[in-house]
């Protein structure tokens, strides 16, 4: 892919899948994501959404920021950095985790791949070199950003296993959730080796493929060819956003702002507030933010991210929440919202003040309806419900089903 235009003229990079994506983009909707230009919508977010829940979808993950972490102290370093016990992570496994500042406030979340003894790959939503390097003082550890060296593609949906098997990834049936391994597939000039992990951001059966940028188009083409008769299609960020809300996953700058970026006091969020207490291991020994998180746990959080089921069909984007219909007392606000075509529910994630976080609590959401440019304000019921909103059993089955 030609990248000759200087960065001041074309600040966004193109991923190795860009040409393929551009060719399939019907409506030219690209958005910047972590320094790359990526597809927001190929043709229609709803159609793309159903490829995730009904067949297979391809989502270009290349912009995920990737670090290789090695050195004699790699494990010690990661264990001090992350809230989970990385010591329990064996080679071939992946863990979802978060990391915090000293005040126990979220810097970012991401996945850690253990690729060998004291060898890890960390995938993050935002760039972390500054924080990782500051956290590495005193450790014998090497941190290198390898974002541009690895092309990544998420293959997600009920037929994703069949699709991967179909392109010749022998042994893929044995890969369990949160495992990764190297697999080969036939290419035009010899075999292509990929790292495949059974991970994803959709809450469905799915995989993530990590490869040399040079192999990217061959892999894409093989998937599209093999899947063409079974509804495979590339998806953009909008469709992904719908499925990730159904799966109850959070996004930085949507559901929280990294403590590395907040300007105002009190806008940073702790993993306990974000409902990620299960990722915080107080028993593993010291880690950054532990003291503050322990204190918060003892005191109880002031607010928490909860799932909401909202009356009506209009997604409650950015809605303020109230304790009563009169709208006199605020109780929080919606951070992410979508209509769920699978659950037929109007879903939202919301940051809600502590008294109202219990499942079953009734709140009121203030939404605005556009009636041909005549705007109406509505107060609608918003019930606190369990997350995830959608968790099909097929996501866990090993070997997975064909569809």
């Amino acid at each position: 892919m030609s990248q000759e235009s200087p960065h001041f003229r074309q600040p966004l990079l193109r991923t190795p899948f860009h040409e393929r994506a551009r060719a399939l983009s019907q409506i030219d909707r690209f958005i910047p994501w972590a320094g790359y230009t990526t597809v927001d919508v190929f043709s229609s977010a709803e159609q793309e959404y159903f490829s995730v829940r009904n067949a297979s979808s391809l989502f270009d993950l290349t912009p995920m920021v990737k670090y290789r972490i090695t050195g004699a102290d790699a494990l010690r370093f990661l264990n001090r950095l992350m809230t989970r016990d990385i010591g329990k992570l064996r080679p071939g496994r992946v863990a979802y985790t978060v990391w915090c500042d000293d005040a126990g406030m979220m810097i970012d979340d991401g996945t850690v791949f253990c690729t060998g003894e004291n060898e890890y790959l960390v995938c993050t939503a935002e760039r972390q070199l500054d924080w990782f390097a500051a956290s590495a003082i005193g450790f014998d550890v090497r941190i290198s950003e390898i974002t541009e060296e690895i092309a990544a593609l998420a293959v997600q949906g009920p037929t994703s296993y069949a699709l991967l098997k179909g392109i010749g990834l022998a042994g893929i049936e044995r890969l369990k959730p949160f495992e990764h391994g190297n697999f080969t597939m036939p290419g035009t000039d010899g075999a292509i080796t990929l790292m495949v992990s059974r991970t994803g951001f959709t809450g469905d059966l799915g995989y993530e493929l990590w490869m040399e940028p040079a192999d990217a188009t061959a892999v894409w083409d093989a998937l599209m060819r093999r899947g063409s008769s079974r509804g495979v299609r590339p998806i953009g960020s909008q469709a992904l956003n719908m499925v990730r809300i159904e799966a109850g996953f959070i996004l930085p700058n949507m559901d929280f702002v990294s403590a590395a970026h907040t300007l105002r006091i009190g806008t940073e969020r702790s993993p306990l507030e974000l409902g990620l207490a299960w990722l915080v291991d107080f028993k593993k020994g010291h880690f950054t933010g532990r003291r503050a998180l322990l204190a918060e746990q003892q005191r109880g959080p002031l607010r928490q991210l909860v799932g909401l089921d909202i009356e009506g069909t209009k997604p409650a984007h950015n809605a303020l929440l109230y304790t009563e219909r009169s709208g006199r007392r605020e109780a929080g606000s919606v951070t992410s919202a979508t209509w769920s075509p699978t659950c037929k529910r109007n879903l939202a994630l919301a940051m809600v003040d502590a008294p109202y976080i219990a499942t079953g609590s009734l709140l009121w959401a203030e939404i605005y309806l556009n009636r041909e440019l005549v705007w109406e304000r509505r107060m609608v019921r918003a019930r606190v419900v369990e997350r995830p909103f959608f968790a099909p059993a097929r996501r866990r089955a090993t070997p997975p089903a064909e569809f």
Partner: protein, 534 residues
Amino acid sequence: MSLRAANRYDAIIVGAGHNGLVNACYLARAGLKVLVLERNPFVGGAAVSRSLYEGFTYSNCSYVCSLLRTEIIRELELPQYGLQIIPYEGGCTMMRDGGHLAVYDNHDAMRREIARHSRRDAEAYDRYVRDMLRHCRFIKPLLLREPPDPTSFRPRDIHELMFLGKHFHGLGEARMYDTLRFWTMSCADMLEEYFESEIVRGHMAGSSIIGTALGPRSAGSAYVLLHHYMGSIDGAVGAWGFARGGMGAITQALAASLRASGGEIRLSAPVHQVLVRGNRATGVVLQDGEEIHAPVVVSNLDVKRTFLHTVAPEHLPPEFLDQVRRFKIRGSSGKLNIALDGLPSFPAIPAGSPSIRGDLHITDTIDMLERGYDDWKEGRWSRAPYVDMLIPTQIDPTMAPDGKHYMSVFVQYCPYELADGPWTDEKRKAFGKTVIDAIGAHSPDFRDLILHAEIRTPWDIENEVGLTEGNIFQGELTFDQLLFNRPVPGYAQYRAPVRGMYMSGSSTHPGGGVMGAPGANSAAAILRDLGRKP
């Protein structure tokens, strides 16, 4: 109307710098009959546009705008009187080895630009910007407030002290430490907490020395950097822009706004002395002997010029005079305004890069800045000077004929007094040559394009604008001269020791730059004393 009545006003403002004009505008809008007296045949002080060469307009002193408070622009309706501030993108430091570091608005372009020098610095830049914005958020609410007197027990002072205390406390423990450290540390130490690359540090350090007799390694220089960061354009904090038509557009708009609300301005009317009777200001006497009377006299001049030259010493407490005498107001900056026959080329800047439309620099390390400062301490201009150089005519079509360009070159460091005796024409030329040669080293065709150059040393600036020693901020912006210590302890509330007399220049809180806040705050103090609603 009798002659006597014509020479009587509710308030006289001495000096038509932008702060004097802002002050006058607010007083006139509150219904006072005001007169502004200006020594020069034009208004503006250090915010002027003048034509010294056929077809060209120069921003002779100040040249870029960011600090001017939006509240003032709105309240005084300056856009209606022709003011337009256009933000510019970019900037660049050209390096001695032919490399460069540019500044881009686009976050990803900026990250990739810094990453050419250091990948870690590219990310640390976000933390740096975050921290600067946090400091700005702390300072911003203090700008348009009168600083409290920490020794007084007046309800208003206690209230304001509580505001300050609460505001500070609201930062939380960690940020409280950071803020205290930041206000007192050196810019070099501060930047080393973020960046590893020499060029990134060197580039960022520039704003810490502009207009100040500090080096990048002097304590207190970090704050100066913030002082240049705390402005904003249309809500974009830290953004700088051009006033369309040059910085004089600001003071022209202020003058028009003032006249529209009934204020008067007299040009070429230098004030000789403030008239005082029984510890009360009663008016002024002009250099030609004319007396003009008013119960309120406001000085837009710097604190030294005001109290050492325009008020007779018998009216002032000796300790006060002593503190005024010791007020740090050292000249350290020069200025070149250059008419160019075309756009000079800068080989270090990549073709098509918008950075050429921003501020250009040729000092690529902190050490080089510090060496420049060493020269100043020894009483000579920097042999390798720091320049803050802009070509506004790439954006503003009003300042030069089509195809030709006006270049503004701010120069640091240049002393007010030279070790080898007073400034002469030859020395001024030699200073100009040093600067032109330094720029020429980065632009092969620059010298040949020069049609005219105005060269101003601190001595010239003092003589033409009246800024003592040519100090651009009307006094150093060091912590000992900020907030309730500006200009001197005990007199930070715009009121002079003489009743009815006020200070409204940049010597007062929150300090220099074309900000307008001292003028607005002093007007509020006057109106409070008069029991009037602003």
